[in-house]
């Protein structure tokens, strides 16, 4: 994902802002990392450049 997504993305549960914790990047994208809700602290994984913003109870095990 590109960091510009942070401008509009939000926590699917409480719609609060998300904070990026990048683990791996290439030239223009975050490839691995997390988006963390600034309100409820729920963590959303970023894998292979794609953030998984499903509500946690819908996420695959």
């Amino acid at each position: 994902m590109q960091e510009s997504l942070l401008d509009i993305v939000c926590c699917p549960l409480d719609k609060s802002d998300l904070e990026l914790e990048a683990i791996r990047r290439d030239d223009d994208e975050v490839l691995e990392g997390r988006l963390v809700c600034t309100e409820c602290s729920e963590e959303y994984p970023i894998e292979d450049g794609i953030p998984n913003l499903l509500p946690p109870d819908m996420r695959e095990a």
């Binding site: 699917p12 719609k15 794609i50 953030p51 913003l53 499903l54």
Partner: protein
């Protein structure tokens, strides 16, 4: 049964590209109607292979495009196709129609092609669309599974997700209930699918030529356009 259980398999065996090819016949008309201006942000719900965003980037100079899909394998393929095509302003997220991970008023236009009826709570999805759209933003919602299209009714038998089968007036009423003004509604015909001569019927899929003509040329896809 989850969206990802059902649709990851579709992505894995190439049905994402198959759908793109078939849906393009009507999707191109839907996309060309969208009043997108250069720089606008567009969200595609149930993006599948992600082709709607690539088409809008090619033709309407969108600022940013986001494709949301509940099946991680769909999003993965979509991202790959999009990178191969050289677009750097289109991103994909895994998410659910029921709780969109986008801020209020953050999107100029939302589009969804042949996906809305999979929502587990379509009225909640409409409220979410109304929420993320800026005032005056549009929602182009195209569905080929709907009440008037009798030829689509049997699709439910082949899929483990409960599908919503509204008629055109139910779409209008539900849009309004969610706070979306209904701007216009239309059936967009698929004029491109090849329909064999009458002698070739019944085929594997169609009892009669009339039925196939009605399905594609008359019913096509039902487009309802809402404004937030």
């Amino acid at each position: 049964m989850s969206v990802s259980d059902e649709f990851d398999a579709w992505a894995a065996d190439g049905r994402d590209k198959g759908m793109e090819e078939r849906h393009w016949h009507t999707a191109k008309h839907v996309l060309s109607r969208m009043p997108v201006e250069a720089g606008d942000t567009v969200l595609d719900l149930g993006t599948g292979s992600g082709y709607p965003l690539r088409a809008l980037a090619d033709t309407k100079d969108i600022g940013r495009g986001y494709g949301l899909d509940g099946a991680p394998e769909m999003a993965r393929n979509a991202r790959e196709y999009t990178r191969e095509a050289g677009h750097d302003n289109i991103g994909f997220v895994v998410g659910d129609f029921g709780s969109l991970p986008f801020a209020d008023d953050s999107i100029d236009h939302v589009v969804t092609m042949e996906a809305f009826y999979y929502s587990s709570d379509p009225r909640e999805t409409l409220r979410e669309v109304a929420r993320v759209l800026r005032p005056g933003g549009t929602f182009h919602c195209a569905v080929n599974y709907y009440e008037e299209n009798v030829h689509s009714h049997e699709w439910q038998e082949n899929i483990a997700i409960d599908m919503t089968r509204w008629d055109a007036s139910e779409y209008r009423a539900a849009f309004r209930e969610a706070g979306l003004a209904v701007a216009t509604q239309d059936n967009i015909a698929d004029e491109e699918i090849e329909i064999p001569p009458a002698a070739h019927f019944p085929t594997d899929d169609w009892e009669s030529r009339e039925a196939m003509v009605e399905r594609y040329r008359t019913y096509g896809t039902l487009l309802t356009v809402g404004v937030a």
